[in-house]
């Protein structure tokens, strides 16, 4: 599947000839980005702008961290140049970006508000902008990594990362296949003034839960969804996992919710918090999140230390 994907992208290349004594030199090529837009990409890239944490992590993973000239304010910045420009996640400062003269902007579908393209002016200024919508499956994450590797000229490196990831997925799936009694999981990704958020199918987090051998109690729904308290109670999950690791005392606050004291997960102390960044960003670091979820659900089966 992935090979086919690369082959298709390669097929879309347009080779520009710069006639220098008959030698063929490629200076740019055309790809179809992850949103389906055709973009002309320069082959010699030295300055990159990344506008979402997932993409930044992939770019750093490909060994291109020192080429980043600007990242969004949620991106990790450890190990990056100290004078790197920090831009807004939405409504980025276009003038600043143009002044940085990047060769390419790796943008996220999350940067958009509605259908407006926040980087339209950059495109008009002749800067290549590729869009990567947020992945809705683990395969999607691998494809995104492959794509970023391709446009940034790191096909080999990307291939190594994705092959390694796939191997690890397979190993985890093999362990999951040996699990006889599967647990029902309620995975909470947000509590906004009492409005609780979880997810159904067509999300990579649902695949994470399934991969390690859990049953998402909302697998009959799809996408991100808010869920009612009494519905969670009536579904009586065996384990509760949340990735609100930025909220202090989140486990205690979930366990003390009124009515939650009848849920098996709370009775048996099976409420866990996992890292919010590694479980919500579609990058190679998802494997960290997968391991955390696996160890939370089945400490007797998984041991990654």
């Amino acid at each position: 599947m992935r090979k086919l994907f690369i082959a298709l992208l390669v097929l879309t290349f347009v080779i520009t000839l710069s006639g220098c004594k008959g030698e063929i030199e490629v200076t740019e090529f055309t790809v179809t980005d992850r949103e389906g837009t055709e973009v002309v990409i320069p082959t010699n890239i030295t300055k990159i702008v990344s506008t979402a944490p997932s993409n930044t992590e992939v770019i750093i993973g490909l060994g291109l961290g020192d080429m980043l000239v600007a990242v969004d304010k949620y991106s990790p910045t450890e190990g990056l140049s100290e004078d790197i420009a920090i831009i807004n996640f939405r409504e980025p400062d276009i003038e600043l970006l143009i002044s940085l003269e990047p060769d390419i902007v790796v943008a996220s579908g999350h940067n958009k508000v509605g259908d407006d393209d926040p980087f339209k002016l950059l495109k008009e200024a002749g800067i290549a902008v590729v869009y990567i919508p947020s992945a809705d499956s683990l395969q999607g994450i691998l494809d995104d990594i492959t794509f970023i590797g391709l446009v940034l000229g790191k096909v080999e490196e990307a291939n190594t990362i994705t092959t390694d990831l796939q191997t690890e997925f397979d190993e985890i799936a093999a362990i999951a296949a040996t699990i006889t009694t599967k647990v029902n999981v309620y995975f909470e990704i947000g509590d906004y003034s009492g409005t609780l958020y979880s997810f159904g199918t067509e999300t990579f987090l649902n695949e994470v839960v399934t991969l390690v051998g859990g049953n998402n109690i909302y697998s009959s729904e799809s996408g991100w969804l808010n869920v009612s308290v009494e519905d969670i109670i009536s579904k009586n999950p065996d384990v509760i996992v949340t990735n609100q690791s930025n909220v202090e005392g989140i486990v205690a606050s979930i366990m003390s919710r009124t009515g939650f004291d009848t849920i098996d997960a709370v009775i048996n102390n099976q409420v866990f918090v996992v890292n919010g960044n590694s479980t919500s960003r579609g990058s190679q670091n998802i494997i960290e999140g997968i391991r955390e979820v696996a160890e939370a659900l089945y400490p007797n089966y998984y041991d990654f230390d």
Binding site: T195, S228, E230, I233, S234, F260, T262
Partner: protein, 349 residues
Amino acid sequence: MQKLCIQIITTLIKSKYLLLLALLTIALILGTGIGSVYISPIKIFSILLHKVFNISLIDSVKNTDVAIIYHIRLPRVLIAALIGGSLAMSGAAIQSLLRNPLASPYTLGVSSGASLGVAIAISFHLTSPFLSNMFLPVVGFLSSLVTVILILYLARKIDRNYSTNTIILVGIVSSLFINGLLTLVIALSGDELKNIIFWQMGSLSLRGYDHLLGILPFVIIGSLGLLVLHKELDALAFGEESAKNIGVNTQKVKILVILFSATLTGSAIAISGIIGFVGLVSPHIVKRIYGQKHLTLLPISFLFGGIFLILTDLIARTIVSPSELPVGSITALIGAPFFAFIFFYKRGK
């Protein structure tokens, strides 16, 4: 003897009060019974007997049923009744006081004040270990009261008589100003934006007995306060001059009515977030059916608002189950056509 009984019952029905009490009972039963799982009235009854008199449960009742009925739905339905009632009753009082059919405590800055207070608390991560989950409600309540008192103070600076137009104008201008500040806080809040927006949309999710007990005293103080002033409100509804002529201290009454109404509305939205429409529309519907006298208008508005919010919250939490909709949007979506129906139906007659 039999004849007398029938007579009493028919008068009760004719007086339209029994109808409303019957509706309230039905709403309470529906509100506690229906949800992501249906629980029969017999089971509900058994759970209540078990909890209150420690009578053993009937066999078919599961532990999760007890949790859902006793800890989730019952407090939620009771809170909906109190909040809907408070919004409707204070709406009725303010509309009469300001002799303006579009007025409500929201006109006096109660909602914008509470929103600003809560938004500041959320975006600056203010918490209080002592108040724990009652912290935001307390902040909301206090900031709405402070806002109303500031608006009254401003109005007094402009016009010592507190004429209705002054109050409305000062209220609206201050609300707009506070909303400007609110937008500023939200724009700068970054990650907490969702929390603030969801709070504003109004929800009764995850509200328990601590919230119920938290607002109960304020609801009692506010509603008793307004009921005591029912004659003065009757007089004021005819106009300020005539009220003065029969010896009503209009200034004092205005301040008291506004403060009691703000107590009711402020405590209500402190718990639920902003729920519109109930306070605006309930008094109009009640007036059409039960007349203008405040001795009946105020308590009936309370009952009506309570029933209305129980039923709209029921719809909000069941229509897209297992998800929930913000109840504030449902009150308007259901309320507006319902209001139009009552209005035109009565007119057609």
